[in-house]
């Protein structure tokens, strides 16, 4: 039961990460590696501000910091025409130093003894476990609603079109560069928020938390998509969060059953991503074999 509740809580927190990855990977159609840096950035900002006594402000600042990190990647991609993957790596690696600076030149920061959003006294009439689920749920739900609304606005439509047919957008008076920068900024704002909530949830920030986090987010987004399809954008965003929940269940179940040690987590994530990404080609092969077999029978 604790395991299940824990998975739901983590799934919701990492759900915001999955939303961010979904925006860059699926809507904008650009693999963005800033995630590894911006996730830890959100984590660090949130932790530092919590210690300073401003947990909520810390989350707000983490969102802004994530957006700025994303905007920098966006600027590198568009104005300097650096390859999107390289642009992300450049921002991500420079963020390592910045994150260390925010953490006060330490590789980790404990929040023990500080008031986070998860242990505010006036909210403690609620059971701690309930609070631990409710807060991620509220953040995740709000993010989802805002994103669904945003991608229905004119600006949102422009961003979607940029990912769908850049050439058309260029020929129709929309500033492609601006759209990309805004989209990557929003994506990393979500990722920063995810890290920010996680820091206060787990009670510490660690400089290495973000390593491979992009793959984790991608795994969640792809699992959701594989199960719930790509019918519409609203459905896609929703399924990213559901994918994140399912991903956490899989990981929890695997860890519980001692199939692999905890340090193999990233390998498992990578496997899930490779498997999920290869589903279309596997389907194609099966279809081909089935057709050939059928044709053979008829002959």
């Amino acid at each position: 039961m604790t395991l299940l509740v824990g998975s739901v809580q983590l799934g919701l927190i990492y759900g915001m990460l999955a939303l961010g990855i979904y925006i860059s990977f699926r809507i904008l159609n650009i693999p963005d590696l800033t995630a590894d840096g911006s996730f830890t950035l959100g984590l660090s900002v949130s932790a530092a501000m919590t210690i300073a006594g401003h947990p909520l402000l810390g989350i707000l600042l983490a969102i802004i910091a994530g957006a700025i990190a994303g905007a920098i990647t966006g600027l590198l991609q568009t104005k300097l025409e650096i390859h999107p993957i390289l642009a992300g790596i450049i921002t991500m690696s420079s963020l390592y130093s910045i994150n260390l600076y925010i953490l006060g030149s330490r590789s980790n920061l404990s929040l023990i003894g500080s008031k986070s959003i998860f242990n505010q006294e006036e909210w403690l009439f609620l059971n701690k476990q309930v609070l631990g689920t409710l807060i991620p749920l509220i953040f995740c739900f709000l993010t989802l609603i805002i994103l669904i609304w945003f991608f229905k606005t004119h600006l949102g439509l422009c961003i979607r079109a940029t990912g769908d047919n850049e050439e058309m957008v260029r020929a129709s008076s929309i500033n492609v560069d601006a759209m990309k920068i805004v989209a990557v900024a929003i994506s990393n704002a979500c990722i920063g928020l995810s890290g920010a909530v996680l820091a206060q949830y787990q009670g510490y920030a660690d400089i290495s938390s973000g390593i491979g986090i992009m793959v984790v987010g991608l795994a969640s987004a792809i699992i959701g998509e594989a199960i719930f399809g790509r019918r519409s954008l609203t459905m896609g965003l929703f399924s990213a969060i559901l994918g994140s929940l399912i991903y956490r269940f899989i990981i929890a179940a695997a860890l519980k059953s001692n199939i692999f040690p905890a340090y193999m987590l990233r390998v498992v994530s990578a496997f899930i991503v490779v498997f999920a990404l290869s589903i279309p080609i596997i389907k194609k092969h099966l279809e081909f074999r089935r057709m050939r077999k059928k044709a053979g029978q008829n002959a």
């Binding site: 945003f150 229905k152 606005t153 004119h154 600006l155 949102g156 439509l157 422009c158 979607r160 079109a161 769908d164 047919n165 050439e167 058309m168 957008v169 260029r170 020929a171 129709s172 008076s173 929309i174 500033n175 492609v176």
Partner: protein, 265 residues
């Protein structure tokens, strides 16, 4: 309306492969004029469109639209005044977005609505009316993803998108060439209807000489970056496809005409 003055465009300047795509071209279009543009492959027709549309900049010369100098205006700025349509139907629409989303994108592009909702209910009524004019049954499929439509349907939607914002100038680059004959004729008819109704100044590239003479009010022929024939009114009415081909070989001193032009006779 549109003034092109001494437009010159050189590709790969300073290399052995230097190629003068536009050789000091000048011409003026008046309001509401419908010009068809013909010429063999490599004559510079598409280059001219790209220069007017802002895909790249001229080496020298000027382009004025409504008296405004747009020679060095960024592409996305001038795009609000210029509608463009390409040969490939996939180029003009976003495949994973619905018909109404595509149309809303084009319709709102001038208004800069920002965070206002993209697909407005009142606008949908207008979209439905416009789509009904196409007579393709698309008015009942507003929520269909454009990628699921046929080439002709996609091009018709793209045409609607290009003209929805009432552009000052419409550039059609062989927009029916990739369609089957029936769809091509249909899209051409729709093009004529919309251009007439909205009175949009239009330039159309075509390799079909018959249709170049039948459509619009003026025909320009290009060869190797130069305008070699510019004909309107009575002269044009009296012109036959055969005569035009003769003129073409005379003026360009080059008897070899591209196969496509011959086939389209």
């Amino acid at each position: 309306m549109l003034e092109v003055i001494n437009a010159r465009k050189i590709f790969l300047a300073g290399t052995p492969n230097e190629h003068v795509a536009l050789d000091n071209i000048s011409f003026t279009l008046s309001e509401g004029e419908f010009v068809t543009l013909i010429g063999s492959n490599g004559a510079g027709k598409s280059t001219l469109f790209n220069a007017i549309g802002g895909t790249f900049w001229l080496n020298s010369g000027k382009i004025l639209l409504h008296g405004e100098d747009i020679t060095y205006m960024p592409e996305h700025h001038r795009a609000s005044m210029i509608g463009r349509l390409f040969q490939n139907p996939a180029k003009g629409t976003a495949p994973n977005m619905t018909i109404e989303e595509n149309l809303a994108l084009a319709y709102n592009r001038k208004l800069r609505k920002g965070l206002r909702i993209g697909v407005h209910r009142e606008d949908v009524k207008l979209f439905r009316e416009k789509l009904a004019m196409l007579d393709m049954g698309l008015e009942n499929r507003l929520k269909t993803k454009v990628g699921l439509l046929s080439g002709g349907q996609r091009q018709a939607v793209a045409l609607l998108m290009a003209t929805l914002g009432k552009p000052r100038l419409l550039l059609l680059d062989e927009h029916t060439a990739a369609l089957d004959p029936a769809a091509a004729e249909k899209v051409m008819q729709i093009t004529k209807d919309i251009v007439n109704q909205e009175n949009i100044t239009t330039m159309m590239i075509t390799h079909n000489i018959q249709s170049a003479l039948e459509t619009g009010s003026r025909t320009i022929m290009m060869d190797r970056g130069k305008i070699i024939l510019d004909i309107t009114g009575k002269d044009r009415d009296n012109l036959t496809v055969g005569r035009l081909m003769e003129l073409y070989s005379q003026q360009s001193k080059d008897i070899v005409v591209s196969d496509r032009m011959l086939l389209n006779r």
